[in-house]
Subunit: 232 residues, 2 copies
DNA sequence: GTCTTCAATTGATATTTGTCAAGGACTCTC
DNA sequence: GAGAGTCCTTGACAAATATCAATTGAAGAC
């Protein structure tokens, strides 16, 4: 094995409580690969041969239909993806591409399923992970169906500000056109939405965002823990 | 216990493989209640005290924000709901109301979590259920973000036709305004969308739908197993 | 430095979707 | 069968969002 990515993987909630033996079993057939940016790691519809773990870099999950494309999530280290497909032994519903140079650990799906069948702790960890993922998608769906694009952007900025401990000024974690896609709008509309937030004290300079008065922005955004809080 | 709803519950994938003892434990504290139509069973934000099982009738899962409301799913017997909240001991993300007179079994969440911690089979069944639910929401999200409302309706009709074994004529399973909400549009727009499907051979009379030529409608809808197939 | 490239923005316009108000169709009750 | 209630539909209009084309702006290559 090139180096000890073991530690990184083991540190994930998903793997931290399982027995050492079972973890070793999982890691035996796993391997790590480095990918350049803009590589399509998996394509929707493919059989789910591997559970993926982002060790470094950044990965975009997206979906295509009828020549259209939309981003569904962005993954940063250390996190797994395509867990549900692996568990159900079903085809991927999303495609994934690297956004930057990334190290990805690949764990054969059949090993995951085998250990899952014998290790209760692992099964419980998977449950917790899936329940979290499920709730996260439900929140996104509420965001999409209940809010206008301006409101979605406002709440997205507030969430990001919370993530950086409330700093008045911060950097957008995504390219703007991908942010637009994540929020379910076009890049052009995102530009206009940023302008639409100026009256609420939002200043934009490149990817630098300044929120002059959080309360002011909240009066428009009306953030709700049942949509915007990651952990609830 | 009033009668043997045990059998109905036990027949669910979720409970069919767990040990008889553990199932009995779960059922000991469970009870069944009959509700009239239009009763709000649970409200988003409430603590998840019970795992619910629809034994008969019909239940609507919906969400509210800022005086707006949207339907997220409709449940028919026999199925559970609010599993993820129960598992994570987190507040409900959706509200639920009966649409008709319904019998609901209520299983205390703490019992579910307790058995889940000790019964590996139950934990694995929950994993399978959650993975399915997760994938189902992801598909809905793809539907919402990648398709126009006309395309969503077209695919919804094709899915329904598949559900009734391809019959040319069938009945809509929902009230139209709730269908509109499920599809993320207004009732007015749903009416217009039905008209927009006339050129593709869709005939509407009340809740009776006739699809003259499935191929024709598919040329517009472009259904994809990765969005429209329930089991994939 | 200049050039190239690509993302981001802007303006003009088209399409989609929502809103409001009115009317029609249906069921239910009495 | 008349009336009330509800859902659905329709039309006119308004708002939101997308599209297309052109321009600006910033980062890297040379």
């Amino acid at each position: 094995m090139p180096d000890t990515f073991f530690e990184d993987v083991r540190s994930l909630h998903l793997f931290s409580k399982m027995s050492a033996d079972n973890f070793a079993d999982l890691m035996r057939a796993a391997y790590v690969q480095n990918f350049p940016p803009q590589i399509e790691l998996i394509s929707e519809g493919d059989p789910s041969d591997f559970l993926h773990v982002v060790l470094s870099g950044e990965v975009d999950l997206f979906a295509r239909w009828n020549n259209r494309e939309t981003s569904l999530a962005t993954l940063r280290p250390v996190s797994t993806f395509i867990l549900a497909a692996t568990i159900r032994d079903a085809p991927y519903l999303m495609s994934a591409r690297t956004l930057e140079k990334s190290r990805i650990a690949l764990i054969p799906s059949q090993d995951v399923r085998a250990v899952f069948d014998t290790d209760g702790d692992f099964a419980r960890a998977i449950v917790a992970e899936l329940a979290l993922a499920y709730r996260s998608v439900v929140k996104t769906q509420k965001d999409l169906k209940l809010r206008s694009s301006l409101e979605r952007l406002a709440n997205c900025l507030l969430r990001q500000q919370t993530r950086v401990d409330g700093a008045e000024e911060f950097t957008l974690p995504y390219e703007k056109r991908r942010l637009a896609s994540l929020l379910g709008m076009t890049p052009e509309n995102l530009s206009r939405a940023f302008k639409g937030l100026q009256p609420y004290g939002v200043r934009v300079a490149g990817s630098q965002i300044t929120i002059a008065d959080r309360k002011d922005l909240e009066s428009l955004a009306k953030p709700s823990p049942l949509i915007d809080d990651f952990l609830v």
